[in-house]
């Protein structure tokens, strides 16, 4: 349609946006700009806000810091490991839960519960599940003749363990959103597809997936953003350490350490912006692809 922007519409939009913008501007955008500026302060007093020198050395520092690159690498592995699995699993489960199956209220609650269960309980139980000697996972793998894996104490296995935990934890969240998205699909398309001879798998593939694309789009953007920001899971799984021999160090962990541990505010900000740029570019790509792929 020929709906073009006008001054009037812009003013109206501003009116609608005002409350949200006021809050977001004050508590998100303003501090972001501040810390963006801070990433260029190379010599200054954080507490008194006195800047003596500006420059790019914070950036050159992080780019030369192998720890930063390790964190980036781990974060990338995490994102690649978590996002697709989590989306596919939760979509599948959401579709099942949307069906008229028995006890579906019960199952929906089951998938929701991890989402509210205390983080401590989650981390303890997962540490048990991953336990080399007594763990459920190794016990189970034992049936297939797999010898015990040191999930949490072997630096090689730290990332896989973290990914498993994150997938599990994010499931409930994605499922709820997918369930809401499923409600948005008009039933008539399923009727038409049945008439056209589509089996339930084909209906899923040809109707559910495309018509859910705006929700999937949303979830994938949010998942990627959140996965890039992974932090709490590391904390929970490895008891406050970034994995054995820092093998599960992520970028936010790195930022966190620089900021609260070393009081290296400039470097922390620079690292945050490096992360920001990476996510932002990825998101722009997604938005672009999404515009073309997302149907209605």
């Amino acid at each position: 349609m020929n709906d073009t922007p006008t001054i009037g519409k812009t003013l109206k939009a501003l009116l609608y946006l005002a409350p949200a913008l006021l809050i977001i501007g004050t508590f998100n955008i303003y501090p972001i700009i501040k810390s963006f500026l801070m990433s260029f302060y190379t010599d200054y007093d954080y507490f008194k806000d006195i800047v003596n020198e500006r420059g790019l050395s914070n950036y050159s520092y992080i780019f030369q810091d192998p720890e930063f690159w390790l964190s980036m690498k781990n974060t990338m592995i995490f994102v690649i490991g978590v996002v697709p699995i989590s989306i596919i699993l939760s979509l599948g489960i959401a579709v099942l839960l949307n069906q008229k199956i028995k006890f579906r209220g019960f199952f929906r609650t089951v998938y929701f519960i991890p989402f509210v269960t205390s983080v401590v309980a989650v981390s303890i139980v997962w540490r048990w599940i991953f336990h080399t000697q007594y763990g459920l996972l190794n016990h189970f793998l034992g049936f297939f003749g797999v010898s015990p894996i040191k999930w949490l104490s072997d630096p090689q296995m730290a990332m896989p363990a973290l990914i498993i935990l994150a997938v599990w934890k994010g499931l409930g969240y994605n499922i709820i959103i997918f369930l809401a998205g499923l409600q948005n699909i008009n039933q008539q398309y399923y009727l038409a597809a049945k008439i056209d001879g589509a089996s339930s798998w084909q209906r899923f593939k040809n109707i559910t997936v495309p018509l859910l694309s705006s929700t999937t789009f949303f979830i994938s953007i949010i998942s990627i953003i959140n996965s890039f920001k992974v932090f709490d899971e590391v904390f929970a799984l490895f008891g406050g350490q970034p994995g054995p021999a820092n093998s599960a160090q992520t970028v936010v962990y790195y930022i966190f350490n620089k900021f609260y541990g070393e009081w290296d505010f400039g470097v922390a900000s620079a690292a945050a912006y490096a992360l920001f740029i990476v996510i932002f570019i990825l998101t722009l790509v997604q938005l672009y692809v999404g515009k073309r792929k997302v149907n209605y």
Partner: protein, 364 residues
């Protein structure tokens, strides 16, 4: 494929949309389904398609009970009253969809779809999404999608309602042609009686979820089972007169007048007719009786309208308007008193309460 409904009933909460429907449609027949808005036509189609499970009754395709068979296995083509096109697929992909589900190869499917699109004259729109089409164009996509897989049974829910007269004619010929060619058992919901009369082998008439009559069109027109059927078909509608049956069971006197009509068809046998009846005569079954001696209904002309080559008279009889279509040869002016004669065997007689047709039709 023969389609048989036995006591099929559909209940939505406390609303009975379809009530104990018993009909057998023979293989390869084209049946038009008629009835007032909300009488249960779409619901019946949905049950045949398997999209609704009947709350009672049985549906057979051939001699297979299909109640439990899922729609995707029924080999049905359907045009939904609201089209239900896939909004995310292009027109071409929409039409190809049923073929894709049948695992027809892509090339072949596309060819078939393009062919079908040409038939319904939307071949210039193939790349558009449904949202970019006009109402009539969407409807034609729906028709193409239903026909392209040459189904065993075709269910069409007012498939032509948004098309102009010319296209409508062409499309229905096209549907008829394909139906004949592949001998698809077809049920066609329409509101256009002329359409129903002209293309269907039989008409199925419903009212308030209840079956009324099921027979070839002309027979339904000439021998309606009851007053409702008689008055539903025909435009302008049939004229109904309160009347009473004389003792000889042949003469009918129209209440409030001195006019008496002698029936030329016999009453149904074994009937104990009420004396109070309803006499029904279609407008085109009148003629102007000039012979004073002959029977007829006297009335004053209140309007003369030309339709086509003929004259439509509105004649006042007992404060009610009677419509008659008569030859224009006799010049009749507004205000003239005319005597309306009735063509032999064209009078209908209905019971007052049940509406049942009281005359015996030789055709049955």
């Amino acid at each position: 494929m023969e389609v048989q409904m036995k006591d099929v009933t559909m209940q939505f909460n406390n609303i009975t949309a379809v009530d104990r429907m018993n009909v057998t449609i023979e293989d390869g027949e084209l049946v038009s389904m008629l009835g007032p808005s909300g009488c249960g036509k779409s619901t019946t189609l949905f049950m045949l398609a398997g999209l609704y499970k009947p709350t009672a009754g049985e549906i057979f395709f051939g001699d297979r009970l299909v109640n439990k068979i899922e729609p995707e296995h029924r080999e049905i083509g359907m045009v939904f009253q609201n089209y239900a096109l896939y909004p995310h697929l292009s027109v071409l992909k929409n039409i190809m969809f049923p073929l894709k589900m049948r695992k027809v190869s892509k090339g072949e499917a596309e060819e078939l779809a393009r062919e079908m699109a040409k038939l319904v004259q939307i071949d210039h729109l193939l790349d558009r999404k449904p949202g970019q089409l006009s109402g009539g164009q969407q409807q034609r996509v729906a028709i193409a999608r239903a026909l392209v897989k040459k189904p065993k049974i075709l269910l069409l829910d007012e498939p032509l309602s948004n098309l102009d007269a010319r296209l409508r004619l062409e499309m229905r010929e096209e549907i008829r042609r394909i139906q004949q060619e592949v001998k698809i058992t077809t049920i066609f919901v329409t509101h256009d009686q002329e359409e129903a009369m002209s293309i269907s082998d039989k008409i199925l008439l419903m009212k308030d979820g209840k079956f009324q009559q099921f027979c070839p069109p002309q027979e339904m027109y000439d021998h309606p089972e009851n007053e409702f059927v008689a008055s539903f078909l025909g435009s302008p509608p049939i004229n109904l007169f309160p009347a009473s049956l004389m003792d000889n069971l042949k003469d009918v006197s129209i209440s409030g007048t001195n006019d008496v009509i002698t029936l030329s068809s016999p009453l149904k046998e074994g009937m104990d007719p009420a004396r109070q009846v309803t006499l029904g005569i279609r407008p085109e079954d009148f003629y102007i009786e000039t012979d004073e001696k002959k029977q007829g209904i006297l009335g004053k002309t209140i309007m003369v309208e030309r339709i086509g080559r003929d004259n439509l008279l509105n004649v006042e009889v007992q404060n009610k308007t009677v419509r008659a279509i008569v030859s224009p040869d006799l010049r009749i002016e507004r205000g003239d008193v005319v005597k309306l004669g009735i063509l032999p065997e064209r009078a209908h007689l209905f019971a007052v309460h049940t509406g049942e047709n009281l005359l015996d039709s030789k055709l049955r």
